[in-house]
């Protein structure tokens, strides 16, 4: 009686272990499937395109900021006062003529 109980329990344990092995195989199989999905070229390309679209928006923003910086520089240059231009022209004239006033 006691040996048969032990054998029965042993068989139950073996079944549980077999079940665990099957579960382990399923876990790995699912991981492989998921890995294939992750490596799916179409999905990667689609993600890359979305990323590039986002990046393009950022780059356009950066480009606009850069351009605005140059616009400011150009405005600053154009704002040189007429007196300064006159002063430089006078210096040039003195040199052209080669004599001081």
């Amino acid at each position: 009686m006691s040996i048969s109980v032990l054998v029965e329990e042993e068989l139950k344990a073996i079944k549980r272990i077999e079940e665990a092995k099957r579960k382990a195989a399923r876990i790995i199989e699912e991981a492989k499937k998921k890995a294939e999905e992750i490596k799916d070229k179409n999905k990667i390309m689609s993600r890359a395109n979305e990323y590039l679209q986002q990046k393009e928006i950022e780059l356009r923003k950066e480009a606009e900021e850069i351009k605005q910086e140059y616009v400011k520089q150009a405005e600053k240059i154009r704002s040189i006062p007429p007196e300064k231009i006159e002063e430089i022209a006078d210096k040039i004239i003195k040199e052209v003529i080669g004599i001081e006033r």
Binding site: A24, I77, I97
Partner: protein
Amino acid sequence: MSDEINAFIHEIHKKADVQIESILEEAKKKAEEIIKEAEREAEKIFTHETRSRILLLRRKIVGQAEMEGRSLVIQAKEDIVKQIYELSLAKLRQIAAGQDSSYDYSEILYQLLEEAAIKIDEPKIIVEANEKDKEFLSINLRKFEERLMKKLNKPIRISISDKTTNLLGGVIVYNKDQTKIYYNALESRLAKVFEKYRGILGKILFNKILSEM
């Protein structure tokens, strides 16, 4: 059931539990590794696909903005340089017309002639000028010859060319066979001085203005 048998059963369960836990743990680890490896591969492909395209996009979008921006600044600088040039030219025109009382154009004309004569270094020189200056030079020819003789410490003959040039002012001086020619016109002097100032304006004036931003 005896305690002994119960202990055996408990031992069987315990061993099975340990084995099951180990099998599942190992499977989870392997699964994680498979996914991580896939993610690494995907990331590699993603980076390969995006990196070069981002570089191209940057070159196209940001590069274009840089180019347009720089061109705006260059244009602004050119406009200022042009303003200075035009103002200088207008001032020279006034001086040559005798309309600027700060300058004695007659003396300037003589100085230009003297400089050219020294450079040519010939006993006979021919002078070309515009109509107005030719008239002035013709009237003062002997006087200028004497001044030049004193300056050079040797005799010199000046003749005025029949040709009339369309100069703003100043002279073109040459020897008889035109092997030596010296352009001392106001325009050419302005062009020469202006080239020097173009560099100075870029290096000093514009850089100073931009550094104050």
